[in-house]
Each structure stands twice: as C-alpha cells, then as structure tokens.
C-alpha cells in the first residue's frame, strides 16, 4: 500500500519486520511481523517479559541485526546498518576501564574522528545535567553502578543523535537507583526533541517516561497492545505517586497478564 507523503519523515518505522535466528536443531523465531512507527520527538516504550524478543527488536533498530523479513526505515530511508544519528544504551554501561569518565563520554567522537574541541562543551554540559560534575577525571571502577550508567547516557547523547535506543538500561541497578535514573532521563527529555525507543520490563518506567507504550506478546514478539500515555509533559517524578498513574500501571499489568495467559 503506498503511504501518504509526509512532510517530516518518521524517526524510525518497522514494517512487518520478522526475525528468525538459525539456531539448531530448531530455528528460533524471535520477532513476528512487527509494525510500528516512532515519530520525530516521540518517546516509545516497549514493554514485555524477559526473553520475549524485545531486545532483538532494538538490535535491529540499532542496525546490529538484520531483519529476516519486512523493512526498517530510518528517517524515510531503508536502514542497512548502524546509523550515525542513533545513540544506543545497553543494560551494562560498557565503559572502557582505562578511560576517564570524560574520555568515555567522548569515545564516540574519538571513533568518528571528530575533534574533541568540537564536542567538549556538549560533553561537559551533559555530564553536569546527569549530576556527574566533578567526576570527569574519575575512572569507571571508582563510580557506582548508577553513576556509570549516567556516564553511558552522556556517551549516547554526546554526538547529539536524533534517536536514542535504550535496551533495559537500568535493569542491572538496584530499585532505588533505578527510580533515580528514570528521573534523570525524564529530566533530560523535558528539554529535548529527540525520539527514543526504551525497552523495559518495568511498567512504572514505561508509563513515567513514554508518550506511547507498546506491549509485546510472548516470543515470538509481536505488538499485542498499544497505549497512549495520557499524561502531558513536562512530567514530574511525583507523577508516579498519583492515583491516575496507578490506574494506568494497573491497566497495563492486566494487559500483560492477559497476553501471558
């Protein structure tokens, strides 16, 4: 079906994307005909149980995995590999142990051969925003898990990408730090127009951060239900304590339970 021409291309578009891994003896069907769109500036959370194939979705969006079927478009153009304007965050911070926080944040610039001076201001600003001011020279092993993940956020954002992909970035953190990190992200997104896909199995995180939540089915992953989060921005972390927030969370929990049955 020919699509209507849009003035602004979507950040990323999944069109009937499927993925099968050629495992033996039985091939593993990870993703089944997934279609959805992330518009410019939209924050989409992908919610699903562990091992449902949602990370595979994200790896395809990052250009690290190739879809077995269907088509992936990034800014209106077919995606064939890692995209320069995409920032990625993983479960682990994956900081290089011999680099300082600042050098880790600047690592994408090093790899792309962009002069330090060009991105230094941006790096320092981000480091300040996530609350790492004063730790620029520290090595990763001197930081707590939450601080490392803060540095990883800065690294994902330092080249000012227009799309950020996050693969359960806080799942390795304890509950309190995890909520804190959610607030850091929420704060960062108050003043940016970046698009984001945020894979998580935390309903609270999904509802607090996202404009739209996609609930995935069990493997092979497919979009079971879509929910537009009814809270306007800017949002405060206290939103999570409200009754309305609780109602949305409860609704989503019901959706997930129905899909798991």
């Amino acid at each position: 079906m020919p699509e209507a021409p849009t003035l602004v291309a979507d950040a990323i578009r999944f069109d009937a994307v499927g993925k099968t891994f050629p495992t033996r003896p039985v091939p593993l069907r990870a993703v089944e005909s997934v279609s959805f769109t992330v518009r410019r500036g939209e924050f989409v959370a992908i919610l699903g149980p562990s091992g449902c194939g949602k990370s595979t979705l994200l790896m395809m969006a990052a250009g690290l995995e190739v879809p077995s079927e269907g088509r992936l478009e990034r800014g209106g153009v077919e995606l064939v590999g890692p995209h320069r304007q995409t920032g990625v965050m993983f479960q682990d911070a994956t900081l290089l142990p011999w680099l300082s926080v600042l050098d880790n944040v600047l690592f994408p610039a090093t790899i792309r051969r962009i002069p330090r001076a060009k991105v230094l201001d941006q790096a320092m600003r981000l480091i300040g925003t996530v609350g790492l001011k004063g730790f620029e020279g520290a090595r990763p092993h001197e930081l707590s898990g939450g601080m490392r993940q803060r540095a990883a956020i800065c690294r994902a954002l330092v080249l000012d990408p227009d799309l950020i992909l996050m693969d359960e970035p806080f799942s390795a953190l304890d509950a309190i730090t995890r909520d804190e990190m959610g607030d850091v992200l929420l704060d960062l997104w108050q003043h940016t127009q970046k698009s984001a896909i945020f894979v998580t199995h935390s309903i609270r995180e999904a509802v607090l951060l996202a404009d739209r939540v996609l609930v995935m089915s069990r493997r092979p992953a497919t979009v079971a239900e879509e929910l537009v989060v009814p809270f306007p921005r800017p949002r405060a972390p206290a939103l999570a304590d409200s009754a309305e927030f609780g109602a949305v969370v409860a609704h989503l929990r019901g959706v997930i339970a129905r899909n798991m049955a």
Partner: protein, 254 residues
C-alpha cells in the same frame, strides 16, 4: 620496609649457616663451595665471567624479544583467523607436550653451534606463554565493548587499537613474565649443547673440573640476568597499570 628487612636478614642468616657448615667440615667444600669461595671465584676471574655473562645476557634479551614478537604475532594471527587456528593449534599444542629440552641437540644439527642455534632454541622455548597470553587477552575483550564499537561504526583497526589491545595487554604481560624466565632457560640449555660460550658453558666446564665455586659463581650471575629481565617486564607492567588506572584483570600462567 620491615618485611623486606626480615627477608634480608633471613637470607644473610642462611648464607652464614651455609658458610659455617662447610667450614665446620659438615659438608666437603669440594661438593659445595662456601659463599666466601663463590665470592672469591667471582672476583678471581672477573673478565672471563663478565665476558661470558654478557654473551648470555645479550642472547637472552634478544631471544626474549624475538619470542615476544613471534608469540604475539602468531597469537594475533591465530585469534583473527579461525581456519588458521584449526590448522595450526594442534601442532602448537603437540610441541608443548614434547619435552622441549630433548629437541636441543636437533637444533645443533640444524643451525650449528653458534648464536643462531641458542637464539632459536630460546625463542622456541619462550614464545608459547606469549602466544597463549595474546590469544587469551584478545579473546577476553569485553563483548559489550565490541558491540559498542559496532554501533559507533568503528573500523577494524580502530577496534583493535582502541579496545582489543588495551583489554589484551594484562594477559600479554603475564605471558611475557613467564617468557622472561623461559628465554634464559633456553639460552642456558643452548649453551650446554653447543658448548662454545656463555655462562651455561662455564657451568658445564667448571663442573667437569670439580670447581663448584666457579659453578656457583656463574649461577649467581645467571640469577642476576634472570632477575634483571623479569624486573624489566615488571616495570613495564607497572607503567601499563599506571596508564590503565584500574584494577587489571588477572592473567596468570604456570
């Protein structure tokens, strides 16, 4: 500081006890020369010992360097090519099972009794720990860091230089420490079988004359060479650890 002093005193006490045993005729000086006689032997032929010592030191250092280069290059090649690994690894492992000293006379047949024979044998004995350190180090690169490189579109060389190599160096250094002692061993065995020069030759020659003091004097110098080389690698490790700035992943080999 206090621990070092205790250790030094213990060594001194042992040397004095050894001296006393020989002087008290509990042990014949023909079987085991006392420390004073060893010192005297060192001072009696300083030019001969220094000459032979320099030869051994030179060949050990060169053998060690070649073993490091060869081991690291072969290790890197084996790490990067699965086919090569399948073809070469059984041979490399088989060579480790052969008692390598037994092959020393063959090296004489192939390379004659000169320095090339001793060097080749030193390299042959010492390259393996470097090879294993290199392959283990390169294989031990954090998989998340490699994924990060792919996301950022890093090239093959960038990935090697910026990520794989720094992750591999601690293991490589551990392999080099073992190689340092092996290289000296290789040169001494080479000196035994070529019987031309070097402290190993002095040991053989002096032992055949029953000059235990001279044997021990040469061995003392050999220890000095070993300590110097091993210390050099330790310094290298220290410098790297300082740059690394983080606890290094442990790398230990037999």
């Amino acid at each position: 500081m206090k621990a070092a002093l205790t250790s030094a005193l213990a060594v001194l006490a042992m040397l004095l006890g050894w001296e006393a045993l020989v002087r008290g005729k509990a042990v014949s000086p023909d079987l085991l020369a006392p420390p004073s006689a060893v010192l005297e032997a060192l001072l009696r032929h300083p030019d001969i010992l220094l000459d032979q010592g320099l030869s051994t030191a030179r060949e050990t250092a060169l053998g060690f360097l070649l073993a490091c280069l060869f081991g690291a290059a072969l290790g890197a090649a084996l790490s990067s090519a699965a086919l090569l690994r399948r073809v070469a690894m059984p041979w490399v492992l088989a060579l480790q099972i052969v008692p390598k000293m037994a092959l020393a006379p063959l090296f004489v047949v192939w390379l004659g009794v000169g320095a090339p024979c001793r060097l080749a044998f030193a390299v042959f004995i010492a390259f393996f720990p470097v090879l294993i350190g290199t392959t283990a180090g390169l294989a031990g690169t954090d998989s998340g860091a490699l994924r990060l490189c792919r996301v950022l579109g890093a090239g093959w060389w960038q990935t090697v230089l910026r990520v794989r190599l720094p992750y591999a160096v601690p293991q490589l250094l551990a392999g080099m420490k073992t190689a340092a002692t092996m290289a000296l061993l290789g040169v001494v065995i080479g000196e035994f079988v070529t019987a031309q020069q070097g402290l190993g030759y002095v040991v053989m020659f002096a032992a055949s004359l029953g000059e235990t003091a001279l044997v021990l004097a040469a061995i003392t110098l050999l220890c000095g060479i070993g300590v110097a080389l091993y210390g050099g690698v330790l310094l290298l490790e220290l410098a790297f650890a300082r740059w690394y700035g983080a606890p290094m992943p442990a790398g230990e080999f037999g």
